[in-house]
Amino acid sequence: MAVDGEAGPAPATLPAGAKDVLPVEAEELRELEGRIRAVAAAFGYREVMTPVLELAEVLDRAQEGGVGPAFRLFDDHGRVLVLRPDLTIPVARLVATRLADHPGPVRVAYLARVFRPPPAGRAQAAEERQAGAELVGAGGAEADAEVIGLLVSALAAAGLGDARVAVGDVSLTAAVLDGLGASEARRERLRSAASARNLVAWRRAARDLDLADPGRTLLAELPSLRGGEEVLERVADAVPSAEPACGRLARLLDLVAAHGAGEAVMIDLGVLRDWAYYSGVVFEAYAPGVGAPVAVGGRYDRMAGRFGRARPAVGFTITLERLHRAVAGQRPEEAPPRDGVVLVGGMDDDLAAARAMRAAGLPVVALPTGDERAERLAAADGWRWVAARAGDGYRVLDRASGRSFACDELQEALPSPP
């Protein structure tokens, strides 16, 4: 590292919002992915992979106004390409085109990265690891419930047993506005207040509608309504025409409870993200101590038709970095050394022993004979044992206990993983 005043190469920095992942974090992220993948597989969701680069004109079809902020570049024919800023849209494209003949319902999962230019001045990653699942070709509350049940199970398997999922419904909100006779211009004001999460502006817009109670009070409080079934009863009482929508959400709560996720779920009519893209239930999952949702999702019945075969769809996306942050807080501070042996001579004179132990499932980190960095290497990377030839047998250091011992055969002295 260059000291003040001393010339050295310029620091090899990364673009804004980019970061490297070192072995410990990589291992932990892969562990989380593995657990989520196993839960998705247990529900019959099969993994798909889409290209990182897509044609902008195709992805932009997904919703009014296109896909929004993204890295864009040109191909050699001058066509605009986009680094996928989201996976729901490419997966919807894949299902609507490549799996158009599938009898349905189609259940797909993905574990991949998305790319978004970070807003200026914000500590936001340009690259995000996501895990998600989409259920295509199934409409009702039972499909919504399965996806929410899958999300809660996946988060629990990843170690987040106390996640909460807030569930709203843009069709219920629309039904309330219909029932109260709100004009399109008024809705636009409410919509922009909701998407800015500005409850002060929402209440002002609601007040300007000149409604009579109980509709007036209900509308003003709508995005602040959070709780259980009593919230739905209140809405249905105030706006009778919204009753079918409330009934659908109540049924969803029952089904989610039957999935074993009832404790985690609450109604929250303030979850009103992206009105253009979502058409029904919308939800966000929260973890204590993480200031933004660890997962978001919802129903987007109108998207598939823009790419190919129109089918209803519902799904979610977990942001792995946020999930990792949530569960990293629960890990023990000092991890014990991991099973594995740094074998001096394993790179040259003692290759046979290295091969035999690897075949038995024990990681062997090889060094050439006489290399004196063995103990420092084991400490840096957290390996439990250090072994070197001594006479006819081996000298072994166990870093878990701090003791050294001699043995004839390494394979007998070091327990192989089960």
């Binding site: 807030a166 800015a196 999460r197 002060v200 709780g227 609450m266 993480v290 200031g291 933004a292």
Partner: protein, 203 residues
């Protein structure tokens, strides 16, 4: 808790709403103070309040609408507290407004401000080109010494503007103190947030 102009009124409103804000009065230079009932108060510059709330370091915060309009943080704006009323204005030196001449001859008007985003948005929305110069203090100085044609700044009584020979030409928006909440706290601590809102509303 925002230090500065909004601080005293914020403490008073919280106390009136039955929040134990007494420890804040004797906080001295401490930045984090806890009350007996488990509330922890963080005091910081007003412009940092949204940053703490957005990241979840604070569940709720009090901050002026001027800061929210400038930073556009991803938080819930829960309640207009009504105090700390002031106006965001475009002001130029007394006498003839130099703005039309600048636009006609130079193509753009030069504006000094602590609120570059607000200033840019205002001139863009009114179909005029502006060169926005960011300064960090004593914005009133800029038109007096020829750094800019005008300023975009917050004013409550208009006294500082008058003292420096400036006149407000356009009002951009009216500001007041707002209660904001973190996205996750607004859900996971729904009852506590709602309770605070209804008590602040009633007080």
């Amino acid at each position: 808790m925002p230090l500065g102009a909004l601080f005293d009124e914020s403490v008073a409103r919280l106390a009136a709403a039955g929040v134990d804000a007494a420890p804040l009065a004797g906080a001295g230079r401490r930045l984090v103070v806890a009350s007996a009932n488990g509330t922890t108060f963080i005091t910081t510059r007003p412009s940092d309040v949204p940053t703490y709330v957005e990241a979840g370091a604070a569940d709720v915060g009090i901050v002026g609408k001027d800061v929210l309009r400038e930073q556009v943080p991803d938080v819930y704006e829960v309640l207009d507290l009504g105090f700390g009323r002031c106006r965001m204005v475009y002001a130029t030196a007394e006498g003839e407004d130099p703005t039309p001449a600048a636009l006609e001859h130079l193509g753009a008007v030069r504006v000094a401000t602590k609120y570059p985003r607000t200033a840019e948005a205002h001139f863009a929305a009114t179909g005029r080109a502006a060169e926005v110069v960011r300064v960090n203090g004593s914005v009133e100085l800029a038109p007096l010494v020829g750094l800019a044609h005008g300023i975009v700044d917050l004013t409550s009584t208009g006294r500082t503007l008058r003292d420096n020979g400036l006149v407000a030409r356009e009002e951009i928006f009216a500001s007041s103190a707002r209660l904001i909440a973190n996205r996750v706290s607004h859900k996971l601590q729904a009852r506590a947030v709602d309770d605070l809102v209804s008590r602040l509303e009633a007080s």
